[in-house]
Each structure stands twice: as C-alpha cells, then as structure tokens.
Subunit: 333 residues, 2 copies
DNA sequence: TCACTGAAGTGTTACGTATAACTAAGCCCT
DNA sequence: AGGGCTTAGTTATACGTAACACTTCAGTGA
C-alpha cells in the first residue's frame, strides 16, 4: 500500500533534526526537561516547524488509548439554545485540552440512528440531551462515561439539569399575581422528561389555587404547528386569559393565532414562553419568558463529564433559571 | 502501561471463535466471500455479538490512513441556517459511509483559533464557511482537501456557492417594480465575501436606474445591533422607503427601529431580508425575503468534497435562490 | 582509582486493525 | 501421477506515536 498521506511524521522530523524519533516525541510532548538539552530541543522544534509537522492523531489516540474528544448529542439545531450549550461545553473542554464533537440528532440524517456511526471519532465520553432510546442503548453498550442533560435523574448516567420546575413555578406565580385564573398550557408534542416536568409542575401549582382552570394543547415545536394548535384551542371561546408555552417558538405561534382570532396580546391574552431565544425580543410585544442559561448549562455538563473521567463524583445541583418579565403579560382584563 | 480500556479487541473475538484475528477482520469487514466459509463467518459474527465487540476506530484510522470523517466549519450557530447546512451535508455523507464533525467557529471558545485543536478527530477533508483567516491557514498547512462555502471563487480550495447575487437582483427588481427609489442597505458588519457580494450587487443594480439613491449602514448580525443601526440611519428623515437587509435578523431589528420611530411596515417602509429563517414568518408583518436552501447547500458542499476525495473534478454551478414575497413590502407611498 | 550520579539521549516495543503473502488441503483434468 | 485451480484459512507486517528500559559519558566525592 502506498503511503496514504505524504504528511511528515515524527520520524521525518527526527531525521531532519539529527535525533531519534523518541527524542522528537519527548520534546514535542513537552516531557523533555532533564532528558534532552535545550539546544537539541530547539533543533527539534525548528525541524518540526520547517517540515510543517503535525502529529497523526489516529496514531496518538491508538497509542494512548484515549482521544480527549467528547461527543455532544443534541436535538436538531433549530434554535440557538443548543449552540449556547455547545459553546459552554467547548469552552470548558478546551481549557482541559479536550475537543467536542457535535452531533445533532438524526432528523432525516439517514438510517443509522447511532451517534457513533456518524461520529467516527473515537470518544472518551458522551454528553447527551433528550435522546432517542436506541442511541442511548448504543452508548451504554459501549460503556462510555455518560452525562445526560435535562433528563430524568432516575435514568442512566449522571444528570445535569436546569431547574425547569422552578421556572414553571415562577411563571405560575407571575400570572396568578396578575389575577389570571384560566390557563392554557401549550406543550411540546415530544416525549421527553423535560416537557413532562413542565406539565406536571404547572398543574401542581395551579391545583393549589381554588377557582383555577387549566386546559392543555400539544404541538410540534415549530411556529406553524403552534399557530394551528393554539388557534384550535383558543377558538372555542372558553375564558382562557393566559397561555403558558413550553418554548418561545410555541409562544410565537400563539401570537399568530391570536392575531388571526382578533385577540390582542397582552390586552386580551397574556402569553409566556421558555428559553429566552432571540426570537423572544424580536416579536411584538416582547415575550415574557424563562431565561435558561444555555452556556452555563453546557459548562456544567462538561464539568460533570470531566469529573467522571477523572474518577471523581460530580456535584449535582440544578442550575437556577430566571423569569424575564416583558410586554406579553399583563393584569387580567 | 495497563490496558487503557477493557473493551474487547478483534483478537479477543478471534479467540472466542477459534480463528485467527485476520479471519475476524475479513468477516467483519465484509471481505470474506470466497475466503472464509459461511459457517466460520457466522461463528465469528456470533462471537463478536456475545463479546459486544466494537472496532477501535483509532486503530482502524491509523491502519487505513483515512478516517471517513469530515469537518464542517461554520460560524457560531445562532440561527438555524447552518443547522440546515449540516443536515444536508450529513445526509449525503452518511450515504457514503462518512461522518461529519461540526465545528462552530470560535465565539469565545478559547485561545486556540484552530479548528484542529478542538476537533481532535483525524480528518479526511474540510468544508468551511466564512472562516477566520487564521483557521484557513491552519487547514491549508495540513493540505487537507477543502471545500469553501459561500466564498470568493478566486480564493483557496473548491468553492460551492449560493447564487446570492441573483437573490439581491431579485430583491432589487421587486422593490423597483413597486416604485421604490430611495434605499437603505443594512449590511452585516462582518468581513466576508458573501456580504461584499450583496453590497456590490445591489449598488450595481440600482446604479442603472436614474433617480435612485442608496445609503448604507452596517450592523453586527443581531436584532439588537440592527435596531440601533437602523434607528440611527432612519432617524435622519431622508426619504428612504425601502430597507434591504443582508439577513433576516437584521430585518427584525429594522422592524423594531421602525416601531420606535413611528414608521409602519410596510405602509411607510418596505423591508426585505435574506435567508428565510423561521423568524421571517414569526414577526408581523411576515418578511419578504430571499429563501436560501440551506440543506441543498450542505448537500452540494459534501458532494463536492466527496468528489475531490475520489480524485474527481466537482462541478461548480451556483445554487439558485428564490424570493419569497410576503407582507413587509408594498407599493411606495 | 572507582563506584556512583545525573544528563542526554537511543533502541524497542505495543496500541488494534487491515491486508498482502503465504500455506494446505481437496478436487479436477489430462 | 502430477500440475493447476479453488476453498479456507493463517502468518506476518505496517500504520505513527509514546514511553519504558537501556546506554553512554562527564563529573563527583571518597
């Protein structure tokens, strides 16, 4: 077989510098102190520079038995939320010499629902959010360290969660304080723990206040889907004065439905979202929503995984969230 | 050194099945026809299954000198556009047994502005969009096959482009047809070929129509930034009746500025965007914008790269784009 | 003088895989 | 009988790196 690539190897560098390959490895691996003279080290570095040497990562990974690469599995990147998660995770990873490979879940990406089929990279660990069950078993079969984001703590692996339940409570308090009693919960039509929590928590909070009513509608996570679902749910003319949405995109759909039905936001209908995407301040009126700190979320997830990789026990406190009160909610008419 | 991982190797499978390691490699690599009997092959597969064998990718990559992994370098994922590019690229890649590693450009990701520092994975090729120059040189230094998205055809590597220039022409024709003569171009404050093209093309088109005026403002790509820039540019009370934006997010900012200044869209001010993000139909009125087919873009980029990897010459026609006329543009007052 | 120490390296090996080159048996045809 | 072909494997090797174990040599203290 001909040499697959013509890239220079550490042996080429050694020849150029007039030393052994071992010396090159020591110098470039920064393990040379007390083993190689400063002059020789400099000669090696110089040779590496002139040849444009870059270590072959496949070889290094094989030799070391680890890759310093971590897989981040997220849902399809249709909002900037997971971009923030990635940014936070990558920041922490890079401080520890790790790389992050991003795998947006299969949305028509092919038959193989296995992250490893796509990420050919050999991996040291996985951070996963809201995954399909099949992929999960694939991961567990590999016995890779696993951190789950926004998932049932009772499930597999370490979990790192935003305090979504508290966010929902804040929304409920806010709306109850404005006098609202008749609610519509527009939930995401996705089987995921994080959405179950939202439904459960809202219901639990409202149940404690006499005279409240709570209807529920479900929609795929898209503006168009939410528009249709909200139009149906609001058209029936029940006395709903506040709509609590699982997500800002759903809230944007509610705006459109309201406009169609001749309802003004917030005069006739208060609306809340969750995430605080850019979208939330683009629409008019600006959306009252729960701000989730995506970057912090990513950082915490990566910290937990690195802890596991170091054999430590990661801490598991939930990440606080914060209600941003804007123009889409007002006192009940 | 103790074995880094306790995962079974092909040699373990061989022992379990009572054959040589080579036979295992042949069977699992699907190269066994006429070399190994069906019975033995089945025994090997069975052994692999019971041991939960997964090939060590680092070893395979080293042996083969290729990784069937491709890096996709995109700007920070603050919109769903590059999610679409990824989806398209990953779809094509997966059909050819390739994986895609996603690298969102360094937005505060750490000191190393080098994609390879972050993507530890060994790579066969790179698809890059609107990159920082430093990263580019790192890639070229590696002599990896490179496909550039939305970049100057005169620059390095193969380029795959959307026909942005035609999109701008369509916008100009549309607005001129509605009687507009006094334009504001709200451009992205980012040094990138794709934005230069938009400015150049708009100016070229308008110059051919006597009596037109064109002002220019620049803004970072964010709703808030655009709001500020547009407010300044529109406040001066010059007779601008149409704002052409480099991006839908900028257009959303123009909406907000207009609202502040008491200008109605589209009655007083027509606005156009580019991309056709979800945002475009979330805001009111819905935005007239140029629809860019992100998934097709990703597919074409990957097809081009795979062609290069096969030693072929990729075709280089631009991808057509299409103006979506919605409620944000109307006849000049 | 001589054992000892530290500095400055080098030789060699193993990581797990894929494949080229070889072997060995069985069968067919002349 | 023996050469050739097919089937069913095996043996051996290389990919590029990191690191262990070893060597050589100059200096040092007794």
């Amino acid at each position: 077989m001909p040499r697959a690539s013509t890239r220079p190897t550490s042996r080429d560098v050694a020849r150029e510098a007039g030393v052994s390959q071992a010396a090159v490895s020591l110098v470039l691996g920064d393990k040379w102190r007390g083993r190689v003279s400063e002059a020789t080290a400099e000669r090696v570095r110089e040779a590496a520079r002139t040849l444009g040497y870059r270590p072959n990562l496949a070889a290094r990974n094989l030799r070391l038995g680890r890759t310093r690469t971590v897989l981040l599995v997220v849902p399809a990147l249709t909002t900037e939320f997971f971009a923030g998660v990635y940014t936070g995770a990558a920041r922490v990873a890079s401080r520890h010499g790790f790389g992050v490979v991003l795998y947006p879940s299969p949305e028509g990406i092919g038959p193989a629902r296995d992250p490893f089929a796509s990420a050919q990279a050999a991996l040291d660990g996985v951070i996963a959010s809201s995954m399909a069950a099949e992929a999960l078993t694939a991961i567990r079969g590999d016995q890779l360290p696993l951190v789950m984001l926004d998932s049932d703590p009772a499930a597999a692996g370490i979990t790192v969660n935003l305090d979504i339940a508290d966010g929902v409570r804040q929304v409920a308090e806010h709306l109850l304080g404005l006098g609202h009693r008749h609610f519509l919960h527009l939930g995401a039509d996705v089987p995921s723990w994080t959405f179950e929590v939202r439904a459960r928590e809202l219901e639990a909070r409202l149940r404690r206040v006499p005279g409240t009513s709570l209807r529920t509608a479900r929609s795929p996570i898209s503006i168009k889907g939410a528009e249709a679902a909200a139009e149906t749910a609001l058209a029936s003319g029940n006395g709903v004065t506040a709509v609590v949405c699982d997500d800002d995109q759903l809230a944007a759909g509610v705006y459109k439905a309201a406009r169609r039905l001749g309802l003004r936001v917030p005069a006739d209908l208060s609306v809340t979202g969750m995430d605080d995407l850019a979208l939330a301040t683009a629409i008019d009126p600006e959306l009252t929503t729960v701000r989730l700190d995506a970057e912090l979320f990513g950082e915490r997830g990566m910290q937990a995984l690195l802890a596991v990789l170091n054999g430590e026990q990661p801490s598991d406190t939930d990440i606080p969230v914060h209600l941003e009160v804007r123009g889409s909610t007002t006192r009940v008419p």
